[in-house]
Amino acid sequence: MSIKVCNVSYVYHRDTPLETVSLRDVSFDVDPGEWIAVVGHTGSGKTTLAQMLNGLLFPTSGEVVVDGLKLYPKAPHLKSLRRKVGLVFQYPEHQLFAETVLDEMMYAPKNFGIPEDEARRNIEKTLELFDLDENVLSKNPFELSGGQRRKVALASIMVVEPDYLVLDEPTAGLDWKGREALFSILEDFRTKGTAIVQITHDIEMVLDHCDKLLVLENGRKKLWGTPAEAIEELAEKPVKGLVLPEVLEFAHSLRNAGLNVPLTWDEKSLLEAIEREVSSCIS
């Protein structure tokens, strides 16, 4: 049970003057319950990669294998695959189309042939996870606030209980309260074994949540490791379009100035290290 991405390359408009290589020889795995953050500059290939994980695009070379099944155009298992791998686009609320929240949330279960009473139960469960009241079901999505619309859009994907959830810039346009709420929902799903692949250009946001970071630069895998490993690398060898969070930049500058401080975004340990350095220096 995992997603395996092996030596994947992708070329847009192949054999035309517009030919553009988006991904080059990228490999990584996603295991159940893991939270992977894919970070990179605009045009680094993040979104292309996301769309490959549920068979919207297929590799030009290399392969994507989900739970042992290879993805290729018109594969018989594509439909069941799309239930397994939920894909949330940027601004998912722009895709709401039904007249009521209930119709919106029923759409995917119907599509995948889930019996209606089971779908109803799932909807109720999902609403609860998203902290949405049941009376939203009869509302038109456009009557809801921006934050609620985002929740409904996500909930309509989560209602078929995908094993893998791929989110493209899920926090775009949310303020920090909305962001915190979203992260706590994602953490809940992760605890239940759902794997999360989050596409983002903001490292600061994912450091506390992700298990592994995949850093892309011009379509190539630049870095793959735990947040702590990735931070060490990024501080020494900057990657195009990615900035270290300010706290880390601060720690890194102090270190370069000769202070013995850890490269950490944990405020408490940083504070203690600075205090220790200052007192040892003064004495």
């Binding site: 921006g146 969070p245 300010e246 706290v247 500058s253 100035a257 205090e275 200052v278 220096c281």
Partner: protein, 250 residues
């Protein structure tokens, strides 16, 4: 609230706190339901003054795509001045100036679609500047930019501000208040704080409103309270590092 001419004011607050509504009052795109708003001494509710107000106050919005109308960079910048009925010499002069200030001079003859996101936002700013406004209002103008693009935009604004332009910057990135003299914090449509940015940083306003501060601000406050930083140090990486390095005579 009052904003004196020549200041740089940040307006921050959560989604739905009223930031954009406030911004739109400043060039009479919206007028108060109750109360009054005077811009350069002119009542925004008076329809006969709105044209003058909009000449004084230019706006730049979040998405430059929604604001760019022409297909060539210099034509885009000339669009506003042309509407003012200026002579072609004057228009040309303003276009050249606005493109220079925003660092787009070499792109004058490029098609607008070929610009990057950051360049497009600077083009929107150039178009606004070509109106020679006394005040520029930016409504989340940095939110779609990458760090590089944000830096470029702020540099342009800093230069204009030094030359006396009033800047009102609506933002949800609290780090950006450090560029401004004054900051207004909105919460559910009310003014929760308005004053010197420095005083806001020292205050408990953010905590009281449940607004999450940038981690560096918090670290800065804690370092200060433990006497590890000078009172006058600003919460920027550069200032904080310089202060500590000096203290340790490294």
């Amino acid at each position: 609230m009052d904003v004196e001419e020549g200041r740089w004011v940040s307006v921050v607050g959560d989604n739905g706190s009223g930031k954009s509504t406030l911004a739109k009052q400043l060039n009479a795109l919206l007028v108060p339901t109750r109360g009054v708003c005077f811009v350069m001494g002119k009542d925004t509710k008076d329809p006969s003054l709105q044209w003058e107000i909009r000449k004084d106050v230019s706006m730049v919005f979040q998405n430059p795509e929604n604001q760019i109308v022409a297909s060539v960079v210099e034509e885009e910048v000339a669009f506003g001045p042309e509407n003012l009925g200026l002579t072609s010499v004057e228009i040309e002069e303003r276009v050249r100036w606005a493109l220079k200030v925003t660092g787009l001079f070499e792109f004058a003859h490029r098609p607008t679609y070929a610009l990057s996101g950051g360049q497009k936002q600077r083009l929107a700013l150039a178009g606004a500047l070509a109106m020679k406004p006394r005040c520029i209002v930016l409504d989340e103008a940095t939110s779609m930019l990458d760090p590089e693009g944000r830096k470029d935009l702020v540099e342009v604004l800093t230069r204009l501000h030094h030359e006396g332009m009033t800047v009102v910057m609506i933002t949800h990135r609290l780090e950006e208040i450090l560029f401004s003299d004054l900051t207004a914090v909105l919460s559910r449509g009310k003014l929760a704080f308005y004053g010197e940015t420095k005083d806001l940083l020292d205050s408990t306003t953010f905590a009281l409103l449940g607004i999450k501060e940038p981690p560096l601000f918090k670290l800065w406050r804690n370092l200060k309270s433990r006497g590890l930083l000078e009172e006058s140090t600003y919460p920027t990486v550069r200032n904080m590092v310089e202060d500590l390095v000096e203290r340790l005579c490294l």
